[in-house]
Structures are given as structure tokens and as C-alpha cells.
Symmetry: D3
Subunit: 215 residues, 6 copies
């Protein structure tokens, strides 16, 4: 179970309203590469990791991401809480106002509702950790885009920190991926694929690529 600690993981104190920026940040709340998807991905995948180390890593990072969701909610809320109706219209948040007033809702930057179709669980530790490494890289890229889109140091600060956390998480997932790859410790498998044989086929195929490959 989870308990709530009444503080943010990293402080957020945005003094200047910026409605366009609020609109962009939503994508890291409920968009395809956002923090909500990350949290649910890891907390969901942890159940089938092959050992305690794996379960703990997924659980820890998943729990941390729940705190990132809260940071983003706070940023979005602070960026738009003092806006007038005219300012909302100006920024194109009038469509948001029509449906949600100033309430938050987890969507991407275009207003498409969050869906778990954004992530996968395969029950295969190597595949799941690859997915997790990709998730961290994609979130890093989006944070870089978001930083491009603002000049306000109160916004850039938390975004830089969040981006940094993605890099740390990537490193930790990669570490575990490599450990499992060595042990070839695949969970729940009753398959007997012969790696030797594979190598041979691999080589052959690699040497005879389809004829339309042009480099």
C-alpha cells in the first residue's frame, strides 16, 4: 500500500502564469510518454519480475513516478490558476474550460485522454525492461522539448530535475537488463530455444538481407 507524504519530491513554485506552457505540460501528465503512464507501467510490470531485485526496482521507480505525476499536476495548476476567461481564450484553453473549467485532466497536449495502450507488459523481463528503457528515453526527449518551449526559470528548474531523473532511471533499468541478459533469467518460461542454433541463423540472415536494402 501507499502512504502520502505532504510534500513534493522536488519543490515547485511558479509565480508567473503561462497558459500555453500549462497546455504543453499536460502531455507529461497524461500523454503517451508521460509520468502517469510510466508509474502504471512499472507498478504493473513489477508483479512478474523474476526476483526481488527486479520487483524492488520496478516498485521503487513506479512509486517515485507517482510523485512526478503530482509535481506536474502542481505545475499545471500553478500556471493556470489565476487566468481570466479572456486569457484562457487567448491561449486556446477555452476548449478545456468548456469541459473542465480549471480542473485537471490527464490527456496529451491535444486533449486526447490517457489510455494504457501507451504501454505494454509481456511477462518477459528482458522485453519489459527494454520497454522501460525506451520509456525513459522518450520522456527525456519530451522534457527537452518542454524546456525549449519556456524561458521561465521556475518552470525550467523542476523540468531539468525531472529530465535528470529519467536519465537515472534509464541507467538503473539498463543495469538490470544487462544482469538478466547474462543470466538469461527469463521468468515463467517453458521454452527451450537453442541459443547456439540461433546464432547460426542470425549470421546467415544478417549476411543475406532482402534485396531492397539500399546501404
Amino acid at each position: 500500500m501507499f502512504s502520502y507524504q505532504k510534500r513534493l519530491q522536488y519543490p515547485v513554485n511558479i509565480k508567473k502564469k503561462d497558459l500555453r506552457m500549462a497546455k504543453y505540460l499536460v502531455t507529461q501528465y497524461g500523454g503517451p510518454n508521460g509520468e502517469l503512464g510510466a508509474a502504471l507501467r512499472y507498478l504493473n510490470q513489477k508483479m512478474t519480475m523474476p526476483d526481488d531485485r527486479g520487483r524492488a526496482l520496478l516498485n521503487d521507480i513506479g512509486t517515485e513516478e507517482l510523485g512526478h505525476v503530482e509535481m506536474l499536476e502542481t505545475m499545471i495548476y500553478q500556471l493556470m490558476k489565476d487566468a481570466t476567461l479572456d486569457e484562457l481564450k487567448e491561449a486556446g484553453l477555452d476548449t478545456h474550460y468548456a469541459e473542465h473549467a480549471k480542473g485537471l485532466f490527464p490527456t496529451d497536449a491535444n486533449g486526447v485522454p490517457f489510455t494504457v495502450a501507451y504501454f505494454a507488459t509481456t511477462g518477459d523481463a528482458l522485453a519489459d525492461l527494454s520497454e522501460d528503457m525506451a520509456a525513459e528515453q522518450k520522456a527525456r526527449a519530451v522534457y527537452e522539448n518542454l524546456i525549449d518551449l519556456t524561458d521561465d526559470p521556475d518552470v525550467i528548474g523542476p523540468l531539468l530535475w525531472l529530465r535528470q531523473r529519467e536519465i537515472v532511471h534509464y541507467a538503473r533499468f539498463k543495469e538490470l537488463f544487462e544482469i538478466y541478459e547474462k543470466k538469461n533469467k527469463k521468468p515463467n518460461t517453458n521454452k527451450a530455444f537453442k541459443p547456439m542454433e540461433e546464432d547460426i541463423i542470425l549470421q546467415q540472415l544478417y549476411m543475406t538481407p532482402p534485396n531492397n536494402y539500399y546501404y
Copy 2:
């Protein structure tokens, strides 16, 4: 931010595998009236509650629901962890196995991925609390259906407890709804609807229903 406590909110110790039951329980994980939707609904809505009491209630119950998600994940995992491939086929979980092996994934009982389209935030405290009361009633109803579908006391126990929590949450949301209704403390509103006038129109309309109303 959230911290993880390494225990379930209510103990889950299922000794007998039951794959059909695993399939049903998924709907309270990632289905339209499930715990994941509930947790996200409340943690999302809390930002625009009009006072500390409202924010605290939404935050508390939202945090608790995250723990319910974990209970359901544990139940589903225990119900299917020892299954053979033939048993999965027998129970219709072979389609799940094809994609996820024994990994969990938040869907409804038919495999439709979770989406936040299942819930709403309006930024209006009365509307949001109505939605929350409805959510608890619907979850209660689904738990009753799930209890109908099993005879295993190890499964019924946690389900009865979860159902009970929905009733408690319903009572607490109702309590707050009534407090706000009295104060008519609507957040973020610059509207000046005249309640008097409304009452009059209300009465008129109520007395002249459209002609196809048949009772």
C-alpha cells in the same frame, strides 16, 4: 509524493488457483468501475476542491485506492501464477497468455485497455462529488457481482472488505457533498445564476412534462 509500505491494506492469501475468477477480477483493476480509475479520478480532482477538507478527503481516498489496485493485482497474480498452459487454454486466458504471458495488464474483463475516458473532472465540486458517489456505488455493484461468481472464502474475504470500503467512501463523499450544497461553495465560478428564478422555472417544467411521459 507517495511512499510505499511493504504490506497490503488487507491481507490476501489465495491458495487455490481459479483462472476464470482471475479473468473477472481484472475488471476491478482496469475496467470502467475499477480501482485504478477510482484512484486517478480522486487524485486528479483534488486539485480543484474548494477547501482543505475537500482536498484532504480526495487525496486520502485516492491514496487508499492505489492500495486497492495493489490488492487486486495480488489477487489476480495468486489466482493464476501456478496455472499450466492447458489450464489457461481451458479458462480462455490463452488470448491473454499470447500477448502478456502471465504478466498483468489493466483492462476490463474482455481485455479492453483502461482509459481515463471512464471518469470526469469538471472543476465544479458538486459535480465532481456526484461523480465520486456514483463511482463508489458502481464499484460496490461490481464487487457484489464478483462475490456471486466465486465460492472460495480466500477470495470472498478481500472482496467483501473492498466492497465495504466503497460504502464507507460513498458515505464520506455524500457527507461532503451535503456540506458544500449548503454553503453552495462552488469553486472558480464567476457566474451569477439566480436560484429564485430557477425554482420558478423548475416548478413550471416539472408540471408540464413532454406528452410522451407515460406515468
Copy 3:
């Protein structure tokens, strides 16, 4: 079956084009709390109401909501029928024009297509009526937002009337909810939950909230 009556339930005569307003109104056509969802929700749920009174109420209000859908279609159409291409561009309806020209399409204000994931049926009269009460509250809140967004009395008139209808419907659903609650007339149930025992557990739980509850 339904027959069409060649008049609107409430007159709509909008003389001034307003393309932004057209864009917002779409959300009460095909958005999460809109009239289309309301109509389908009630006409769908009526089948499992426990008595004639319930079936009639759901059927009547569902049928009325079909007429509200038509009112919104008419309003949207009148607001944009005379627009030039440049005006559509100015208002951000050029993306709509690309796909639909001036045709209508049931989406939310951001263009997300309507889905029945927006509503639920549980086969449990109390849960269904809670959902219906919430639906009316949410629709009321959205109509208030929409009224905020315009100054045109030709638009405000029908919106005030529609908002009023939501309040009437809410009252009628609440009335029926309370009748069923007293009778505890749950349809299709073979469960024997003991209310006494429940009350005791309820009290206990209510007295020992999880430690992170902070009020």
C-alpha cells in the same frame, strides 16, 4: 420506437455567427458529459430497471435528451453556417473543415470522437441512478461554463433552458433513488449481504482511518 416531431423542444434562433462558441458547444453534443451520452445512457439502462416506474423515467428522460442532441446540432449549425474560410481559420475550425467541411461530428471540444466508455450500466438500479444523478450534475456544470463563454442572448437562452432541464432531471433521478433505497429493491440479485454486520464494520473502519489521512 420513436417518431420525429418537426419542431425543437425549445426554440433556437441564433442570428450572429460565433465560431469559437460553435467549437465549445460541440462538447455538449459528443463530449464526455454531453447530451448524446446522456440519451444513450438512459435508453440503455432502462431495460434493467426493477419496475415500470423506473423504466418509464429512464425512457422519458432518454427520449427527451435525444431532442437536446438535436437542439445542440441546430445551435452549432446556425453558429457556423455562414462562416467564410478565413473566419474558420481564425477560429481554429480549419482543422474541422479539413475533415468535415461544415458537417457536424459528435466529439468533445478538442475533436476527440464520442465513445460509450463515457457512461456505464451495472444492472443495479441504485448504482445506475447514482451514475445518472452524477451525469446531470456534470452536464449542469458544463452548461454553466458554456454560458460563461458567451454574451449572445440567443445562445444563452437555450443554454439556460438546457441547464434547467438537467436540474429537473437530477431531482427526478434523486427521487427515484430514494424510493429504491428505502425498498432496497435491487434487481436481479441473488446475494444475501447482511446489512447489520455491515453497519458494525462500517463504524469500525470509519473510526480507524489509515494513518496518512490528514484531517
Copy 4:
């Protein structure tokens, strides 16, 4: 606006429960080619038909399809209303029961919720009527599949009648398509495509198909 007439457009009296059949019929309720989609498609498109004749045809058939939705709801309800829990399990409707008890919900036969992404409006009368003709053909095909799947004359009767209506509607849409094609009465268009020129290009292209065309 619409008024409800307390009778079905065609009588439905199913005496034998058949849960698999209930499961299939759902697809003509809320599936991609079902009656709900048809009703909404036509009632939505009618707004931009170029003349009264077009508006009337779309409105009439759309209204009729609302009655077909009700027929399907009635059929599904009658087919499963007396089922025991064991029978629901046997038929694979236990996943439905978990979420909805015996309540109806507009999905396809696999339980995927209805979405208006199933249909289109283009604001172009010829394109819309082509879509409508296709809709009727597809619904006809699905009714033929459904008739294949049952031997119960009480089920086949209404299905044959519904299939027949699709053929009638197809004929009427085709009739109107041809009238508009002759007049080339395209609504809301400020384009000046030169048909002559087109014919020439058409011919050229038709004579020089891409080299991978193999007949």
C-alpha cells in the same frame, strides 16, 4: 424532437433463452456496423444535406434506426433475462456479468465499446451518401451472418425483417445519390474543379497503371 411510441417497429417475442446468440446480437447494437452507429450517422449527416429531400430522407431513416436499436435491445434482453449464473458462465457471458450483471451495454461482440469513429461525416452529399450505402450493405452482411448462427424462428424473424430494411434503405440512398450525382449538387463548395480536364487525366492514368498491377 422525438417522441416515444410504446411499441416495437416489428414484434419481438423470443421464448427460448440463447446466451451465445445474445452475445452475437450485441454487435448489431453497438458494433462497427450496428444500428446505433447507423442512427447517429444519419441524424448527424442530415444537417448538411443540400435540400429538404436529403434532410428528410436522412432524418426518417435515422429515426427508424433508433427503433431498430430498441428492437435489438429487446432481443438481447429476452435472450438472456432468465439465465442462471452457471448458464452465463457456460456461454462466456460471465465477463459481461462481472461488469454489467444483466444490464445491456453497446459494444461489439467482443465487448469493445461503441465509438463514433465507426462513421464519418464529410459535409459532401455524395461522399456521405456513399458512406450510407456502404453502411447498409455492411449491416445486411452482418445480419446474414447472424441468421447463419441461429435456428430459432423467433430470432430469425426479426433479423430477416431488419436485413430487409437495410436493403430498402440502401435502395433509397442509392436513388438520392444518383439524383445528386446528376445535378452535381455539392453543398457548401467554393471549388471550381474542371471536369473536362479531369476526364483526360483519368483516361491517361487508367491506361498506365503502376507496374506491379498483375492482371
Copy 5:
């Protein structure tokens, strides 16, 4: 299998950036009536066409549409590749930039992700070909809207050509539809509908339309 030919089916050389136009064109990439949907529709349906002629036609046009997807990708890319961040903001592509930088993604013009719910396969040749004819008409209509929205001959050229191809494809699908209609060559059917009887019912129904038909 497919091989790639390193040239576009029709040349695309756009010299002037136009970000709004890029935003509109996306709908013919990943929108409901776009080229991606067309390609997948035909390549998917080809498997159940009743003869070689049908399979070949669907396969040829499906393959060609894959090339149209590439043309649209190229157009969109050329229209926005030199844009500055300020220009992206001006054009409302900042929400796209937040998530995708200048990467492409198959959505409609509002950013709603492509889904195969946009098309259907019925396994019935006549129904499938009706759907295909409708698809071509709808794509034609959208191309006409897109041509309306620009004055740049470098953009209009390829759009006119693509529109022309839709007309050609429509003609070819219609040709095949009529051939199959004559032979009544329905694939995979074990039904024995009596056309005679149908005609009679058809006539009767056609003569007694429901009473609310108003022309």
C-alpha cells in the same frame, strides 16, 4: 512481400513552409478518411475476395495507397522542416512539438491517433466493395477541402493528383461491384436467401413507410 522503390509515385517539391497546411494534411495521413486507413483497408480485405480479379484489384490499390502515405509524409515534412519554434507556436503546432518535436505521427487534424475502427471488413465482397467506394468518395471530398485551404501550386499539384487517383479507384471498385452484383458471387456463404420473396417484401415495405416520414 513488398519492395521499396526509392522514388515517390508523384513528385513533391514544396519550397515554401506552411505550418497550418502541414497540420491539415495530417488528416489524410492518419485521419478517418486518410491514405493509411485506405491502404490497410484494401490489403486487409483482399484475403477474402472471391476470385483472383478481386484479390488483385484490392492488392494493387492497397499497395498504391502505401505510396500515397509516403507522399503525404513527404509533404508534411517539407512544409514544416525549416520552421522555428516561434513559427510552430504561431501555427498551433507547439502542442505537436511538445510530444513529437518535428517527428511525424499518424493522427487526424486534431491530433487523435489513427485507429482501424475507421474501416471495416465483412468477408462479404459486395459490402466490402461498397465500403471501398465510400472510402474513395470521402477521401476525394477531403482532398477538395484541403485544396480549398491553400494557394500554393506546389501543394495543390500533388493534392489534385491524389484526388484524381481516388476518382480512378472509385471507378475501378464500382466496376468490380457491378460484376459481382450480377454474378451474385458472395464468398464464404452458406445462406439461401430467396431473392424473389425479398422483392415482394421490399415492395410492400417501400409502399408503407412509417408515419413520420415527411416527404
Copy 6:
């Protein structure tokens, strides 16, 4: 543009019908980790790769995956083409038959329609290639599950070959990822993140994990 070659990339000759297997294979056609998603992901991402090598690799593999889609279509078609209605019922493909007869449709194994929400493009080469590596690992895992679910060598053969291709593609994407990582050749970026500084923060954070990390 693409041209079609009238042969499969790897021969498929399934002699024994197996309807359950057809149902599973669909997930590699239109499911979250399937070949259709893979093809579209790569062909979509290629546009923003930073150099010819990147564009060529993505284009080649994307084109190859289109051929894998065709292989899966062929396998599914062969597995179910001779089935009787009773056999379809037995295998739970009756719900498919109701809607599609024996036509194919790109869904996951539960019938959920394919959506491009399954993949991402970020315009950042490292993030996109991470996503691609993950995609190949996930597809490999699903092929292993599918091989578990059958004993028919005619089915296992193509599946082993397809699984092998995923491993080859993974290796090639990894190779390119490492080249780009060295060059830090990020496309379209005007950011100036200081790697040095990052390393320092990275280390600090890595040394002070949140207190609920439990290993």
C-alpha cells in the same frame, strides 16, 4: 513508393486448421506488439532520422515488416479457411464470424482494434531507436508465447523465422543506437544541455535514493 512482389518473404503452408491458433496469431497482426505496428512505427520514424544510414535502416526494416504482416494474414487465413460454423463456435471465433465472417481484421487476441497509440515518435533519434529496440524485444517475447501454444511444425516454422528476424532487427537497431550515442547526433535540437553538470547531479541522485527503496 512500394511495389508488391507476388511471394511471401518466408513460405507459409499450413495444412491443418487450428482456430484457437488463428485467434492468437491475430495479436501479432494487429495487437500492441504486432507487425503492423512495427511497420508503421519504422516507416513513420524514418522521416526524422539524422542521416541516410538511419533513414535507410528504418525504411528497410519497416518495408520488411509489411511483408511480415502479409505472412501473418496468410497464416491466419490458412488456419481458418476450411472451418465449419460449428468449429468456429467451438473455438470462440463465432463472435468474429458475427462481424467479419471469415474476413481478417487487425486486432489483438481479444478483438481490440489496432491503434497507433501503441507506438511513439519523438523526433529524437536515441529515443526513437530505444523504442524500436523495445518493440523488437516485445515482439520476440510474443512469438515465444505463440510457439508455446502450438505443436504444429507448419506453424512453428514461420514463427521461429519471424522471431529470428526480431532478434536481427534488434541487433541492427542497437548498433545504430550506439553509433548515434557516441556522436550524440541528435536531430533538430537547439538545446545546450551540459553533460558534465549532468554527470554530477546524476551521481548525487544515484547515491541518495528515496527512503522507500528497499534493496
